[in-house]
């Protein structure tokens, strides 16, 4: 087989596999989109179908106009962005010493404490966290959610970033140190710039965790003005009836902004873009 034809074959195989992967991941989401576009008399029909006899945008209009979803999206954005930025700052610092000073007792203790913090089931956090927020005077404010979500994501963010630091040789820092730069200065101007892909992926993780969190979103806040998007979606499920059209439209609306953000950020994962910056 010639090299050209082998390359063609491998490209075809790649596309086939990618297509299979896309079907697997998109199938339920497509079902959500289709259902959101169906009028009420088609949505929970006896025979399910991907075809829509009379597609309509009514569900989306209802969700955005009647249900204040723009407010909920704004709230979710504020909370998620703040939690994302805050946790990145904290875990970029902590992750660095996790990687470079892993022998220190303080680092080992912190590492263990962070893991233990992940081991408590959410339902047992419900009352203690509520009481904590009340004592801090943060109930019914963005603060309660930002504080909680930041704390939830710090451990994994720190571990992931420390692993990213691990793959960066210390020679970079040593060179900067000889030039007389301070530790923090070295970190921000020399080390962090070559970690962009990892920072993007960790930032996305923090953002999505906050964006999709369900329980504390409605436990800590009691006013419509502060409602975030996931608890709001559940309002379409009543005690005896479910508004499937509204539920699906709201879910699609919740997914889209984040998908668009990701579309812009995914170029940071293009192979070869960064690897030139790191010299082993």
């Amino acid at each position: 087989m010639s090299i050209a034809s082998r390359r063609r074959t491998s490209t075809v195989i790649t596309y086939v596999l990618l297509a299979l992967l896309a079907v697997y991941t998109l199938f339920p989401f497509l079902w959500m989109v289709m259902s959101a576009l169906k009028p009420a008399n088609e949505i929970r029909a006896r025979t399910p179908s991907f075809l829509i006899a009379a597609p309509t945008l009514d569900n989306f209009v209802r969700v955005l106009v009647q249900h204040d979803f723009l407010v909920y999206i704004r709230n979710s954005l504020v909370v998620s962005l703040a939690a994302c930025a805050l946790s990145l700052v904290i875990s970029l610092l902590a992750g660095y010493v996790f990687s470079r000073n892993y022998r220190m007792k303080a680092v080992q203790t912190t590492n263990f404490a962070m893991l233990v913090s992940q081991m408590i089931p959410g339902v047992l956090l419900l009352v203690p966290l509520y009481i904590t927020m009340r004592n801090l005077g943060l109930l019914d404010s963005y603060g309660a959610l930002i504080l909680a979500y930041t704390t939830f994501v710090i451990p994994l963010s720190t571990f992931m970033l420390s692993s990213a630091y691990d793959s960066i040789p210390t020679s970079l820092e040593e060179a900067a140190e000889i030039d007389g730069a301070s530790r923090l200065r070295t970190l921000t101007s020399v080390v962090i710039p070559v970690m962009v892909p990892s920072i993007v992926s960790v930032g996305l993780y923090a953002f999505i965790t906050a964006w999709n969190e369900f329980m504390f979103g409605y436990i800590f806040t009691s006013t419509d003005a502060l409602r975030t998007i996931t608890p709001a979606i559940m309002l379409f499920k009543g005690a005896n009836t479910v508004d499937w059209g509204g539920l699906m439209a709201a879910s699609v609306i919740a997914v889209l902004p984040v998908a668009i953000i990701f579309l812009f950020l995914q170029r940071y994962f293009i192979s070869g873009l960064m690897s030139g910056a790191v010299k082993g």
Binding site: W31, A45, T110, I120, L156, F262, L273, M274
Partner: protein, 305 residues
């Protein structure tokens, strides 16, 4: 270790100060929010504690632990938790890694495929659970309708209502929702692999397969380790996924320890029993941590020396 030089003492001291300062913000957050719940779980485990009624109290010794361990659902819940955790994490790792390798190949439409892969992770768990429940329904679910129309199965399968299928089904859905995070992390880590390594391997005559095993995999060890261990913990304590889809049913076929904990605390208000069960889980996962930390150190040593 390097040989001692003049100024090393002050360097060590400033290094220590820098470490403490760098860790301080993380400590502040963890102490403020996780410290109190953790202490209350550990103390409630040995006390008579009621979720709402403060009059219930007093030292309980090991009573809560006895209650939990003698619960007829305890054994099945332990087994299910293991199946659920190991099954999910293995599936997520394999599919996540395969997808990362595929999505790292330069092809047209790469951006589209990456977003497509990423989408399940953007769907809130409660919504994902409800949607899958609908899709998999034997009477009006699209999946069964496709299966029967294409002649693959004779009669619809009650995926979530048949105890032989239920556990596999919730694991499948969990994998679907969670694997994209592995993919993203692997993609990010792959960017840090110097091209020279691949070039050198190619010169040695290594094919794509060999290059993957001898160059890519070793570079992904550190990230894999972290993701796998944290997901082992997360999956073990995860409650909402199974709750939304099966509530631990049909007839306890998918009951896991977190669902038992939920029942103790929010159905019976017995925080003592819920905390005792959590404490048992804490001990088990702490053992896992010991293993993790050993490997983690070895990897750091290879880098920092």
């Amino acid at each position: 270790m390097q040989s001692m030089r003049v100024g090393d003492v002050s360097r060590t001291r400033s290094n220590r100060r820098f470490t403490i300062l760098a860790l301080a913000p993380a400590w502040l957050f963890l102490a403020a929010l996780i410290g109190y719940p953790l202490v209350s779980v550990l103390t409630d485990a040995f006390s008579h504690a009621h979720l709402v009624n403060g009059d219930v109290g007093g030292f309980a010794g090991l009573e809560n632990f006895e209650k939990v361990v003698s619960d007829p659902h305890f054994g099945p819940a332990v087994r299910n938790t293991l199946v659920w955790t190991v099954g999910s994490v293995v599936g997520e790792f394999v599919i996540g890694l395969g997808a990362a390798v595929l999505l790292n190949v330069r092809v047209r439409g790469q951006g589209f495929f990456r977003v497509a892969t990423f989408i399940p992770w953007l769907v809130p768990i409660v919504v994902a659970g409800m949607t899958w429940e609908w899709i998999l329904n034997p009477d009006f679910g699209i999946f069964n309708s496709l299966l029967t129309q294409s002649g693959l199965v004779e009669s619809p399968i009650n995926f979530l209502g048949d105890k032989n299928w239920a556990m596999a089904t919730v694991v499948f859905v969990n994998i679907w929702r969670t694997f994209p995070y592995y993919t993203i992390s692997f993609l990010a880590a792959m960017q840090a692999i110097p091209n020279e390594l691949y070039e050198a391997a190619s010169l040695d005559g290594a094919g794509a397969w060999r290059r993957f095993w001898s160059v890519t995999m070793p570079q992904l060890r550190s990230v894999s380790l972290i993701i796998v261990f944290i997901h082992l913990i997360w999956t073990a304590v995860n409650f909402d996924f199974i709750w939304v889809m099966t509530q631990g049913g049909p007839n306890y076929a998918t009951i896991t320890l977190p669902i038992l904990i939920y029942r103790y605390s929010l159905q019976q208000y017995d925080v003592g029993a819920a905390s005792a069960l959590s404490t048992l889980m804490l001990i088990a996962t702490s053992l896992v941590f010991v293993v993790y930390y050993r490997y983690r150190r070895r990897l750091s040593e290879e880098t920092v020396g």
